[in-house]
Symmetry: C2
Subunit: 278 residues, 2 copies
DNA sequence: AAAGCAATATTGTCTGACAATAGACGTAAA
DNA sequence: TTTACGTCTATTGTCAGACAATATTGCTTT
């Protein structure tokens, strides 16, 4: 029953109220509050905000503030504007601001105390492996550096994860991996192919049998998002990449950890070249 | 100015209100609300809640609910009690409940929609590498399994991270590493030693030059917390471990990636033995 | 039987109030 | 002059109550 919608703060829903961000309207008269029903004050009342799932006010606010922090607008240690100030700046209620701030606190970007305010936590505390933080982080510096960092990380994780998968995969997990691999080959569009590619690598992480590896999937997703622009359209390259994926699939299927690890290393080296050559 | 207190939801502050958790008091009369000042209703009003930093109501609530979810009380897909219900169960305001839920949403343990309610997200979405989630996760299954998983993860991460550190460390980073190593040797108590040990490994992660490795420090901290009970009191073992740490320090200092990697592998193998032998 | 429509339950948002906290500052004492 | 203490005050924490938006559920109508 719970629908499987995309996760929240992904920041692309174009938060409605951000349009009038700096539009400080100090003299907004209080809404009458007596008029119970009938007599709609005709517009003015933020007509149709919050349509898309990920764009409730607090969510959008969290995105905006989170992005600013990660981007470096408020360096670690900085004391942020207080809740009343945010509330005024964005013309939203204090509750919405508080909920947004609580979300950022949950990601360790912020902490707060009465009388002090909220301050930006030192960068080491940031939960960089969080989906949203990662997304914000990915936008701020130039793509190159970010992509290189993620790619380096993949070199550390994926070969070992794949070796474990070759040892411990269940049949169901193998089926997922194989299917994703097949769908990569049959994909009609580049986007479709990339999606199957992502599924392939995530399935391997899940099959590794180590719960802690699974959350690292966000890194792979992020990498593929940013790699998309670099992806080749050349048929030769595509076929080569497909062969490499099939080699990985095969070695996991035949339960050969070492061979699987090497196959992944080859694939990553190939990806490195794609990045470098651009 | 921002004090460097421990991070929030660490769940050891023994949240005050949890005492009367199941104490459903349906007929609580509304507080008079007219009596402005003077005439304190004498006790009853949750006398001294929220003393310790990490124990505000919403924070404690998030801990309690988060723990329940991770523990498996509400399996993925389950629709949770609604906000009003939580509010009643714990006798706290709906705002507090909402803020707690927003924190859990930020960690991808929950998601919600109007009219539906809040449901537990599939486990793959959980941000297991989050400090709090990890802490909750660590309590639920038996220590053994958790410890083994974390330790396996360390085998994947730390050798490579250390090799990178040997290549890219700055002098400041080296100083941190060396100091932690020294303090390990000079530590007077086991606890003191463990703390220095943790600092040593975290400093290496930071020195690796890959931002994404830093957040994995929570795993190491968690591992050491749980490893503490297993730690040996034998002098021989301690001295052996110290030698291994010094070998790592030396190889990073001399910028020998391969030797550093091997030194870490040895140390981890030693730790494996400690775990296994218990 | 199918399609549209209304009732309903739940989260989302706003408002306004008061409590608790801890820094800043001034005042008094040593 | 310096130190210690108490007061002032700005900020988050908590509460209460109201209304809006939304999508499921079940009913009604064709």
């Amino acid at each position: 029953m719970p629908p499987n919608g995309r996760t929240a703060l992904d920041s692309f829903p174009k938060p409605a109220f951000l349009e009038f961000m700096r539009d400080a309207r100090p003299n907004k008269e209080k809404s009458p509050k007596k008029a119970v029903a009938a007599e709609r004050p005709a517009g003015v009342r933020r007509p149709d905000a919050a349509r898309i799932p990920g764009s409730s006010v607090h969510t959008s606010l969290a995105s905006e503030i989170g992005l600013r922090i990660v981007r470096g607008d408020y360096p670690p240690g900085t004391i942020l504007p207080n809740e009343a100030k945010w509330s005024e700046t964005f013309s939203v209620s204090r509750s919405a601001v508080r909920e947004a701030i609580k979300m950022l606190m949950a990601k360790s970007l912020l902490a707060s105390r009465p009388k002090i305010g909220s301050w930006v936590e030192p960068k080491e505390r940031w939960n960089l492996l969080d989906r949203d933080v990662l997304a914000w982080y990915a936008t701020s510096p130039d793509r190159e550096v970010f992509l290189r960092t993620v790619q380096e990380f993949r070199h550390i994780i994926e070969p070992e994860a794949t070796a474990f998968a070759a040892m411990r995969r269940t049949d169901e997990q193998m089926a997922e991996i194989s299917q994703a691999c097949r769908e990569m080959g049959e994909a009609k569009s580049l986007q479709e192919r990339t999606r199957a590619d992502t599924r392939f690598h995530l399935a391997i992480l899940r099959a590794s049998g180590n719960d802690l590896l699974v959350p690292l999937g966000v890194l792979i997703e992020s990498a593929f998002d940013h790699l998309f622009a670099y992806t080749t359209r050349e048929l030769d390259d595509l076929q080569l990449a497909q062969k490499m994926h099939e080699a990985i699939e095969k070695n996991i299927r035949l339960q050969r950890p070492d061979a699987a690890r090497n196959a992944v290393r080859k694939l990553l080296a190939n990806t490195d070249n794609v990045i470098r050559s651009r």
